[in-house]
């Protein structure tokens, strides 16, 4: 039983082949890392899985249901959630309201109910607020509940994105370079958060360009290079793979 299956997926942008004929599967309950040098096509792949780009060819399945080319908000309904490499924070809203937006699909969002402020709306909001505060505390944002998001430091915003994604109670959480720009201590804390999330039963796809960061926490690693699969397997297998060492670790130095 696989959670996500990618079959023969390719995409090109004006002659540039960003992803070429890629196949892989993701099993439920694992931390699955996608790594590769800058420009390998990792974010492009994530954008295809989450519906921002439609692949030129190939198909993607979630729980064996084809999801190729479906729009992002539909995919959210099916249990996909993600964070963004270039932060996508609603800067004028409070941190808690950012996370509450992540809760959107679980709330009464009927316009008439909201206009009249029916009890179901207020009750739902109250419960959601409680759950979102818990989530923020679990990612270490307990001190920022009412902070305006735009005024928060960079490291906290990285966690805020994770909390917002978790608020949707996703089956599959895709994290795009959650540790980029963080120092060693902060990276370690983010790693702990990711492991905690995975233990709670959410399948995690982790995109990173620094291989060392993912070795310790990943169950499975996919290595991309120039839009193709370079290697795949357990961290040990990938580390021992000569192609990876040559093309990737060697280049990084």
């Amino acid at each position: 039983m696989t959670l996500l299956r990618v079959e023969g997926v390719s995409i090109q942008f004006g002659g540039v082949q960003a992803i070429q004929d890629l196949d892989f599967v993701i099993n439920p309950g694992t931390i699955h890392s996608i790594i590769g040098p800058n420009g390998a096509g990792k974010t492009t792949l994530l954008n295809m899985i989450t519906g921002i780009y439609a692949p030129s060819t190939g198909a993607i399945y979630l729980d064996d249901v084809p999801i190729t080319g479906r729009r992002p908000h539909d995919l959210a309904r099916l249990g996909l959630a993600r964070t963004f490499q270039n932060l996508q924070i609603m800067r004028t809203m409070t941190a808690l309201d950012n996370v509450m937006v992540g809760r959107h699909l679980h709330l009464n969002r009927n316009l008439l109910s909201c206009l009249l402020r029916l009890p179901s709306v207020t009750r739902g909001d109250r419960q959601a607020r409680k759950r979102c505060v818990e989530l923020m505390e679990s990612v270490g944002l307990g001190g920022y509940i009412d902070a305006e998001a735009g005024a928060m430091p960079y490291g906290a915003l990285k966690r805020l994105e994770i909390a917002r994604a978790l608020a949707a109670e996703p089956k599959l959480l895709l994290l795009d370079e959650p540790a980029a720009g963080l120092n060693a201590t902060e990276t370690k804390e983010i790693d702990e958060v990711i492991v905690k999330v995975a233990r709670s039963g959410v399948t995690v796809v982790l995109v990173e360009h620094d291989m060392k960061l993912v070795m310790g926490i990943s169950d499975h690693i996919l290595v991309l290079d120039y839009g193709r699969k370079l290697a795949e397997g357990t961290p040990e297998a990938v580390r021992a793979n000569p192609a990876v060492v040559a093309a990737y670790l060697g280049a990084v130095g």
Partner: protein, 347 residues
């Protein structure tokens, strides 16, 4: 894949102490009074109850009722511009259309005013829905152009189809009748419009503090992030566009019956601009800012009337000066000041 540069002065513990947790603790009384739902609505009702004591003549009532009518439009427009971040330079078109549907149906076809009003609202709602989907795919200045175009076309049609609308000269509108009694005169209309305004403000505050309101602000803050969270952003943009257009149409119907006259200036480009300016002047995303903006920009021409020919000169200067000095608008700037003061006094 560019890395984000970390802002300077970064410290992960720096802000932790300054924010207190709200969950489980009672809200500070000052905070309550500053909140829109708590203090704002009570203050509005209080002002509305007390204001008639200061209204001496028909002219006063006339001005105040027009303020209320404009405020209803602007409270709706604020949901679109202030919360969802979608500009419209054509809302006077919907306002005018609401006014003309009421005018034409009651004056020419003998339809009851209380039937014409919802018909106008529904008609404008359907029209707004039809144009919203293609128009709201546009962003920024393209959206400004498209909504401006929609407003101008409505204005031109109203001006040209004189057989139906009376053309540029406008047309007479019979007074509203309720149970066979004609409703006219400042004081009666004062309470009608006051009730409608309080309702509009209440509905608007409800939406703002609901999953729909957060979805609107969310798509304004980051459209991709909102989509990834499951918000069908197109649907919400269309929804708030239609809602604001319907509110404008209802206000238009009220305006037509109140002044017992309509003319195409109600649907003009300049009127659209005035509505938008009211939103921005009062403060984007602030419901009471919208009301205050309507108060100021409706009063201003009355005050400036004494300056006769210089009215436009002064209006233009004031618009520029306020926007340069307070780019965030009146209410957000003032509440920020008061909040800072309260915090300082409290610590």
């Amino acid at each position: 894949m560019a890395h984000n540069v970390r802002p300077s002065g970064y410290s992960k513990f720096a802000k932790k102490q300054t924010y207190t947790r709200r969950m489980g603790t009672k809200k500070n009384r000052a905070q309550m009074l500053l909140s829109e739902r708590g203090g704002g609505l009570s203050l509005l009702i209080l002002v509305i109850l007390v204001l008639p004591l200061f209204l001496a003549n028909n002219y006063h009532y006339d001005v105040v009722v027009n303020i209320g009518i404009n405020a209803i439009v602007v409270v709706g427009l604020n949901l679109l511009i202030g919360h969802a971040g979608q500009i419209s330079l054509g809302h006077a078109g919907f306002f005018g259309l609401g006014a003309y549907v009421s005018a034409v149906l009651t004056a020419r076809y003998g339809v009851h005013g209380l039937v014409a009003l919802p018909v106008g609202a529904l008609g404008v709602g359907i029209l707004a829905y039809a144009i919203a989907r293609p128009v709201l795919r546009l962003s920024g200045h393209y959206l400004a152009m498209a909504t401006l175009g929609v407003g101008l076309i409505i204005h031109i049609v109203i001006s040209r189809e004189a057989w139906l609308t009376g053309g540029p000269d406008g047309m007479y509108v019979p007074p509203l009748e309720v149970m066979g009694v004609a409703v006219y005169g400042g004081p009666v209309w004062y309470w009608i419009v006051a009730g409608a305004l309080i309702l509009a403000v209440w509905l608007s505050l409800n939406v703002i503090d609901s999953p729909v309101g957060r979805a609107l602000r969310g798509l304004n803050g980051s459209e991709v992030a909102a989509q990834a969270a499951g918000v069908d952003t197109t649907r919400y943009k269309v929804m708030v566009f239609v809602l604001s257009a319907v509110m404008a149409a209802v206000a238009g119907s009220l305006a037509a019956h109140f002044s017992e006259f309509v003319s195409p200036t109600k649907a003009s480009f300049l009127q659209s601009i005035l509505f938008v300016t009211m939103v921005v002047l009062g403060g984007m995303a602030s419901t009471f800012g919208a009301v205050l903006g309507a108060v100021m920009l409706t009063l201003l021409p009355q005050v400036l009337a004494d300056f006769a020919d210089y009215e436009q000169v002064i209006l233009g200067l004031i618009m520029m000066a306020v926007m340069i000095a307070l780019p965030k608008g009146l209410v957000p700037t003032l509440t920020a000041l008061v909040k800072r003061w309260v915090r300082r006094a409290g610590s």
